[in-house]
């Protein structure tokens, strides 16, 4: 809505020899009861009647001062005779000033660039805000790329503030970083709102867009498809921003299974909602490509790399002779365990313990790699299956404007790293091949302080985040990162974020060098920022801008858990029934229970996984068929024993 009312001056630019107006900064005064404050956008000029004097300057208030004509504080003491209570009895109020400093956002015309004229100051209206923030170029163009990020509010007015999709999601710039103290900065809420805004406003000419969110804390992102409570003010803001105040229409939730292999490892297990959660389970094939994630710094050497490459190239998925008379076809962790046992037995028995190498690989290297690979199947049991097929994201069929939530909040940190590394790598691969199904993917990663710290070891995850930050925009792979302490995140990760949001900040954090460009008043405002307000830096904005955003239209994690309390783990039989019913509503629970009554749980799990992967028309028949015989993932190699336990899953053994 463009406000066409005749503007009323709210201040006047003043300049002195000590504090002159410059092309980038000016000072002005206002009445003491002014409505403007730090962060307000103002306009200078445009009220002049002088022909040719059409210069208009837009600025944002960065500092404020108030003082009276009191020469020294001592005079106030004298006037009140040392009694503070009497100071209020003075019948006359001292002359006061509200004196503001503003940083120039834009001058029109842009050339010649001149000091700000000493003119009247006005509050900016919608059109002025668009001009000041240079949003006109992408808001009013033939192919607009504006994404609402919030409402600029000041002096009783509000004006939508837009980000340029070309600079938020690529290709000109990309990535978003949001910082703020935990609980008060509403980082997750801001990202949820922004995703809703992107889905509503991502321009058609830029293609299809999806989001992948890693839920790493409690139930934060588990209820994005459920409506939350919105106030009238929030609804007004949604209307003003042109974003629907409804939850995400398309949400796909993925969560690993628990160690029992049938119950989902997520807080979204309420009977009404658990049906929408897809299991996320990976087998050896999915893990081994990211074996580097499982190796710590001490493990990384050329020998281990060479052996892993050997396994990947020569062993996995192939018929392989171990040289000791046994032929293997390694498809699962169980198969891999058998291969290793065969090799070690062979070296011990066949070679009489005199040889410690096998196919040029030292036994110590092999033991180390075996421990790392097999450990993951224990530490992340439920995510990584010892034996069986995987249940994965739809890598070739990502849908437009869909949020893919991967709940790894309860997964071992090593498993979280693995999930993150593999998902991001697959996204990159598929985007490179243009086979993902969408043209751009926003990857939301919270806790960058943990995953991409400024110091600490060079982990695989950190390298991946750096890679996205530096090259993702060309692919459409966009990182939305959040952290508490921006100063402690890797500089290249935050530095490559074209758009930066700041919620309420910790004063200690604001004292770090990265915030030196902010004025004390801006820092003070940041330190006391209310919930729902953010400071935005964007390539088009020459100065940080404060905006308010509405509460996300989704159920908050905490509220979701209250409204949909997680169900207790169901017995094995019931869990199997639930999975099968979800695949085929015609399945009768009693039939399933009768079917699995005398079966080994591992066999049932494999049959269930096969049914889940195959999704046959007649689920029960297929399940019965697979359960009847050995369920083989691909080749039907006879299974000899159960899961391979790690040698020493939590030891400090250097291997």
């Amino acid at each position: 809505m463009i406000d066409t009312a005749i503007p009323i001056a709210i201040g006047r630019v003043v300049a002195t020899e000590l504090k002159p107006a410059t092309p980038h900064q000016f000072h002005f005064w206002t009445p003491t009861d002014t409505t403007i404050g730090i962060g307000a956008i103002v306009k200078v000029g445009a009220g002049s009647q002088e022909p040719g004097d059409e210069r208009v300057v837009y600025g944002v208030v960065t500092e404020g001062f108030a003082y009276s004509d009191l020469a020294t504080p001592l005079h106030d003491v004298v006037g009140a005779e040392g009694d503070p209570a009497r100071a209020d009895e003075a019948p006359t109020a001292r002359q006061q000033i509200r004196y503001w400093t503003a940083a120039v956002l834009r001058q029109t015309p842009e050339e010649p660039l001149q000091p700000v004229p000493l003119g009247q100051v006005y509050v900016a209206d919608d059109a002025d805000v668009a001009q000041a923030l240079r949003m006109d170029a992408f808001l009013y163009s033939a192919t607009p790329t504006a994404i609402p990020v919030g409402l600029y509010t000041s002096a009783g007015r509000d004006a939508p503030v837009y980000l340029d999709a070309d600079f938020l999601l690529g290709p000109e710039a990309a990535h978003l970083n949001i910082s703020g103290v935990s609980g008060l900065a509403t980082k997750t809420s801001a990202v949820e709102f922004l995703l809703a805004s992107i889905f509503a406003h991502f321009p058609a000419h830029k293609g299809r867009v999806a989001a992948v969110c890693f839920n790493v804390k409690g139930p934060d992102l588990c209820f994005l498809d459920q409506p939350g409570d919105l106030s009238e003010e929030d609804r007004h803001r949604y209307d003003r921003l042109g974003v629907p105040s409804t939850p995400f229409q398309r949400v796909r939730l993925y969560a690993p299974l628990k160690a029992d292999g049938v119950n989902l490892n997520t807080l979204r297990t309420h009977p009404d909602l658990v049906g929408d959660v897809e299991p996320l389970t990976w087998g050896l094939q999915e893990v081994v490509d990211y074996a580097e994630v499982l190796l710590n710094r001490d493990d990384i050497d050329a020998k281990a790399d060479a052996f892993i490459d050997f396994l990947r190239d020569r062993v996995l998925g192939r018929t392989f002779d171990d040289g000791f008379g046994t032929t293997h076809r390694v498809q699962t962790f169980a198969d891999l365990g058998r291969l290793f046992r065969s090799i070690f037995d062979g070296l011990e028995i066949t070679a009489g313990g005199r040889s410690d190498t096998w196919r040029t690989h030292h036994i110590a290297t092999m033991r180390k790699v075996r421990n790392r690979l097999l450990n993951i199947s224990t530490r992340c049991k439920g995510l990584v299956t010892d034996d069986g097929p995987s249940s994965d994201l739809p890598w070739n069929a990502f849908e437009d404007r869909t949020v893919y939530v991967i709940d790894i909040a309860n997964v071992d940190p090593l498993g979280q790293d693995l999930v993150f590394a593999r998902v991001v790598s697959k996204l990159r691969e598929q985007l490179e091949r243009r086979e993902l199904g969408v043209d751009a993917v926003v990857v939301f990663v919270d806790e960058l302080n943990k995953y991409a710290p400024g110091d600490g070891p060079e982990t695989y995850v950190k390298k991946m985040l750096l890679d996205i930050s530096e090259r993702g925009r060309y692919l459409g792979l966009v990182l939305f990162g959040a952290e508490q302490f921006r100063s402690q995140v890797h500089r290249r990760v935050v530095g490559n974020a074209g758009t930066q949001l700041f919620g309420r900040m910790d004063m200690d954090e604001l004292a770090t060098p990265g915030y030196q460009v902010l004025t004390p008043a801006t820092k003070s405002k940041l330190a006391t920022l209310p919930i729902g307000e953010l400071m935005v830096r964007h390539p088009h904005f020459t100065q940080p801008i404060f905006v308010r955003f509405p509460k996300p239209p989704v159920l908050r994690g905490r509220d979701g858990v209250e409204r949909f309390p997680p169900a207790a783990d169901v017995p094995f039989e019931d869990a199997v029934v639930r999975h099968l019913v979800r695949l085929d509503r015609r399945v009768r629970p009693n039939q399933v229970k009768d079917l699995i009554a005398d079966r080994e749980p591992e066999d049932v799990r494999r049959a269930l996984a096969a049914a889940r992967r195959t999704r046959p028309d007649d689920v029960l028949a297929y399940f019965r068929k697979v359960l009847g015989a050995r369920v083989d993932s691909e080749a039907g190699v006879p299974r000899e024993h159960h899961a391979v336990p790690p040698l020493n899953p939590i030891s400090d053994e250097p291997y």
Partner: protein, 326 residues
């Protein structure tokens, strides 16, 4: 282009001189030719304590003050041609204690000894300067005395402006509204007779008392007033009642430190209300009128009006000189 620039272009020598204020200027408010006062309260001049807590400060008060600024801007031979500016304003105090200008008048004029201005410049001066205040040419040869004459002319012009403004103000004064003037109340009969007008005089060039009474007045303790006496002064010779009031302790300073003389209507009611009015003025000590040099006697609202006028006055031609001032 200003009128004096036109003169300078026509051959006058540019000037930029503001003489320091003379004692006469500081004592501008003193009545000339005052008659001996008559006590109208007490048989002998007494010191009365004023209420330390004022009973009632009038909810609506207007304050009137003026300012004058002049400087020599051109020389025609030794004839000094002066640019003068006088202004007066009334600021009304609202319920929050904030002052707002309600009346304002100003006059910018030239002062020149017209008979001694050269024939080449005189027509130009008469044409370019919209307002000329001629002065006697006899003192042109004595520059210092001539400037005293100029100063007196400016002072009169200011007093005239203030009187006009005060009269205009009291015509529109609200039912419960008071007018406090900086200076003599008795300049205008109409103002001097108004029941809610006070003159606050901070210069004491002329003494109205003598003997024991004078001693008591000059050694008044802070927070005391003298008995009320009648004064017949000013050009109008209008009688007003007056009393001294000490705002700040003089001990350690000088006899006139913090000493005000208050003028009010010559009426018995003034005597009755003298203590209450003194209590009100006592409360006006805060906020201090600093950084004014005479803050001990200057009420802050009057200081405010003066600052307001200074801020709105044309820039002094003297400050255009980039040479250091001697």
């Amino acid at each position: 282009m200003t009128w004096w620039h036109a003169l300078i272009d026509a051959g006058a020598v540019p000037g930029s001189y503001v003489p320091p204020p003379s004692p006469a200027a500081l004592a501008r408010d003193e009545a000339e030719g005052t008659a001996p006062p008559d006590l109208v309260e007490d048989a002998e001049l007494q010191a009365h304590a004023v209420p330390s807590r004022p009973g009632v400060i009038p909810p609506a008060v207007s304050f009137l003050n003026g300012m004058a600024r002049w400087s020599v801007v051109a020389y025609d031979g030794v004839a000094q041609i002066v640019n003068a500016y006088v202004a007066a304003a009334v600021c009304r105090r609202d319920e929050r204690g904030v002052l707002h200008a309600t009346h304002e008048r100003s006059r910018a004029f030239a002062i020149a000894p017209m008979e001694r201005v050269s024939p080449a410049l005189r027509p130009l001066l008469e044409h370019a300067a919209p307002d000329i205040e001629p002065v006697d040419s006899e003192l042109v040869g004595e520059p210092a005395r001539y400037l005293e004459q100029v100063e007196s002319t400016v002072r009169r012009a200011r007093a005239h402006l203030e009187r006009e403004l005060a009269e205009a103000c009291i015509d529109r004064l609200g039912a419960d509204e008071w007018l406090v003037l900086d200076g003599l109340l008795s300049r205008s009969p109409a103002v001097a007779r108004h029941p809610r007008a006070l003159g606050v005089i901070k210069s004491h060039g002329a003494q109205f008392l003598e003997g024991r009474g004078l001693e008591r007045a000059l050694t008044l303790p802070a927070g005391y007033r003298t008995s009320v006496f009648a004064v017949r002064g000013g050009h109008t010779r209008t009688e007003v009642y007056s009393w001294y009031l000490r705002l700040w302790p003089w001990e350690g300073n000088d006899l006139l430190y913090g000493l005000l003389r208050v003028e009010a209507r010559a009426d018995r009611e003034t005597v009755t209300r003298a203590s209450a009015l003194s209590g009100w003025l006592w409360a006006e000590r805060a906020p201090l009128a600093t950084p004014a040099t005479r803050w001990d006697r200057l009420l802050y609202p009057l200081h405010h009006v003066e600052e307001y006028l200074k801020a709105r006055a044309p820039r002094s031609p003297a400050v255009r000189s980039r040479l250091p001032v001697a």
